[in-house]
């Protein structure tokens, strides 16, 4: 017993002293902090599964530059405070080379000061535009922003010649941030917001708010939110006989929304990542093979794919490509190489980053889709 203790102490001392040779076979350490449980778990869960699947595949093929990847992961539960603690631990104790994560904007924004101070590349999977605007030296992101979603919706409205719009949204972070972007962008597209209603995300009936919208002379309704509430809004509109075009956000781009809203979902439009309509893309679309390949691999292992897992795919593959170009996991070199990401075809779109753009996606990354016959159809 006693000798065992001594051996442990000796071993750890050696380890601490760095006696272990730092050979080429050392794994590259990838740190991640995702909201696998908690309210954002439907985002974090597929993200972690994607990372695990990809790391396993990459390692089976011999790793990156002959070195295996070791994934060190902590579950933040969607709590920003915990995210900060875990990121400190990843940087100081686990001494990871690169960070991928921050499922939610709250988690990501909270850890940015720590990341910038430590000087370690971070690729976030969260939505808020504030993550990369203004540009931060070490921070990148792969998920679409809510501003892009708002712009895509307004673009479609302009095409249809509709200018008077009613907004209805929930009280969650995603809803409010989307709401803010809609208000901010509306003047640029010549759109006036003539009704602005809200609901609680756990409410069971929104007919009161929609009745007010019915009485206004709105030409279209935009409902920016996720979860079950947008499905209730959709059903309530049908119940009240409101025959206006209804736009939802990319937050409901999942099969569940169609199942919940049922027939009422017919004709609903929303900006969605190409992943949900991968099969419908023309064969000339460079994204198509990437999307179908990721979808096939994920579904073979875990079941239905989600766009959120796709953000993790993009994040990890951008990092892996950058490490390859940099010749190893040197933090500063990898950072420079991530920034030089150009023409990378991911699930969210084609990434063209630069010193002024740490996301690298443009509006084409979103497809405007309509629900027809219980399925997504690309609009023009």
């Amino acid at each position: 017993m006693k000798s065992k203790v001594w051996k442990t102490i000796l071993a750890s001392t050696l380890l601490l002293a760095g006696v272990q040779p730092a050979g080429a076979a050392d794994p590259i350490k990838l740190g991640s902090f995702l909201a696998v449980t908690g309210p954002a778990s439907f985002l974090g869960d597929p993200e972690l599964k994607t990372l695990q699947m990809l790391v396993e595949e990459i390692n089976a093929k011999g790793g990156v530059k002959g070195r295996k990847i070791e994934l060190v992961h902590y579950d933040t539960g969607g709590k920003a405070q915990d995210a900060v603690g875990f990121v400190k631990r990843l940087i100081r104790n686990d001494q990871v080379d690169i960070l991928v994560g921050g499922t939610t904007s709250g988690d990501t924004l909270a850890v940015i000061p720590e990341v910038e101070k430590a000087g370690i590349p971070l690729v976030s999977l969260a939505g808020a535009i504030e993550i990369v605007e203004p540009v931060k030296e070490w921070v990148f992101k792969t998920a679409h922003t809510d501003r892009m979603a708002a712009a895509k919706i307004f673009e479609d409205l302009r095409k249809l010649g509709l200018t008077k719009v009613a907004l209805i949204g929930g009280d969650g972070g995603f809803d409010k941030s989307g709401h803010e972007q809609l208000l901010k962008l509306a003047p640029d597209y010549g759109i006036s917001i003539i009704a602005d209603e809200s609901y609680g995300n756990k409410d069971t009936d929104m007919t009161a708010q929609l009745t007010k919208i019915r009485a206004s002379d709105a030409q279209a309704v935009i409902n920016f939110g996720f979860g079950q509430a947008p499905a209730i809004v959709t059903k309530n509109m049908k119940q009240l006989g409101i025959d206006l075009p209804l736009y939802q956000s990319h937050g409901v781009a999942s099969k569940t929304f169609i199942e919940l809203a049922g027939e009422a979902a017919e004709g609903v439009r929303l900006p969605a990542a190409a992943l949900v309509v991968a099969e419908q893309l023309p064969d000339t679309d460079p994204q198509k093979p990437v999307l179908l390949d990721y979808k096939k691999r994920f579904e073979a292992k875990y079941g239905p794919v989600s766009t959120f897992g796709g953000h993790a795919y993009d994040g990890l593959m951008i990092v892996v490509a950058a490490i390859e170009r940099a010749g190893g996991p040197d933090k500063a070199k990898v950072r420079d190489e991530i920034e030089k990401t150009h023409g990378f075809i991911g699930t969210a779109g084609v990434f063209n980053m630069g010193p002024e753009d740490h996301m690298g996606l443009n509006l084409d990354a979103f497809k405007m889709v309509e629900i027809r016959g219980g399925a997504w159809k690309i609009v023009n």
């Binding site: 809200s198 009936d205 007919t207 009485a215 119940q239 049922g262």
Partner: protein, 291 residues
């Protein structure tokens, strides 16, 4: 404007009847043991989620609903037997805390078993809205209203007309005296939890086509149902219905006429006012402190 007002009222009644139906479930356990069962919302969720699962397994809706109600009743019974009964003699507050624990346990169990997704049940009689003047109502809302009325009558009759119901009430008035006159308090309590769970499950199945369901659905429904029950006077089935409808109409008028952002604040302010001026609820029994 009158057309709008009519719709606000219709909305209020729809939402209110859901609260009322959930609130009703609190009465049984409260009447038997003075305990507010905070797992009542989870019974509601459990009924709906079990029905969804059974439907998925290929059972017809009616059969799935019946089996789900029975299964939830069994869960209620087991909860009483293995969580409440071992703590017999504990204070009411301790028992209430046990029910909060049970609620968390049930949520976790459902999460592990059926995942985090949202589910809908098909409406019983179609989705075509019914027009009432300028307002529209879903057929499912009528189902909720009708069954609520029926259950209120049944619960009322149970407590006032049947020996079993009176025995149950006796347990809460004075446990020792009830035991002395030959009432098996233990069996009565098990019965109360089983019936209460069944009532909750029924409520869950009825409202699921409107509100959808998920492992967390019981939290909000339980809270609103509890508010309805205390506004009306907890333990009084009629009170729960009146409280639920009042709350629903207030919320919808608040959202429609004042601001949708403040509708919950308006409803909860009303609950606070009621508790302030009528601590036993609008229709509660005025009880003197028992020594």
């Amino acid at each position: 404007m009158p057309e709008q007002l009519l719709q606000f009222l219709a909305t209020g009644v729809t939402v209110g009847s859901i609260y009322a139906l959930v609130g009703l479930g609190f009465a049984l356990i409260y009447n038997a043991s003075d305990v507010v069962n905070f797992a009542q919302g989870e019974f509601v969720m459990l009924g709906a989620m079990t029905t969804v699962a059974l439907l998925g397994a290929g059972l017809p809706l009616v059969l799935a609903a019946v089996v789900a109600t029975l299964l939830t009743a069994l869960v209620g019974l087991l909860l009483e037997r293995f969580a409440i009964e071992p703590a017999a003699g504990a204070s009411v507050v301790s028992t209430i805390i046990i029910t909060i624990g049970a609620a968390i346990f049930l949520r976790g169990g459902v999460l592990l078993l059926w995942g985090k997704g949202f589910h809908a049940l098909p409406p019983f009689t179609g989705d075509t809205p019914i027009r009432l003047g300028g307002a529209t109502l879903l057929p499912q809302s009528l189902w909720v209203l009708g069954v609520t009325a029926l259950l209120v009558a049944l619960v009322h009759a149970f407590f006032n007309r049947t020996l079993l119901g009176k025995a149950l009430l006796a347990c809460s008035f004075n446990r020792n005296a009830a035991q002395l006159v030959g009432i098996n308090v233990r069996v009565m309590l098990r019965l109360a939890y089983a019936l209460s769970a069944a009532l909750g499950a029924l409520a869950g199945i009825l409202v699921a086509p409107i509100t959808f369901t998920s492992y967390e659905a019981g939290v909000m429904l339980g809270l609103k149902g509890f508010s309805a029950a205390i506004v009306g006077g907890i333990g009084n089935p009629m009170g729960a219905v009146a409280g639920g409808l009042l709350l629903g109409v207030l919320e919808s008028l608040g959202a429609g006429l004042i601001s949708s952002g403040y509708k919950d604040a308006i409803a909860f302010l009303f609950v606070l006012m009621v508790l302030f001026f009528e601590p036993t609820g609008l229709f509660g029994h005025k009880t003197a402190e028992r020594v």
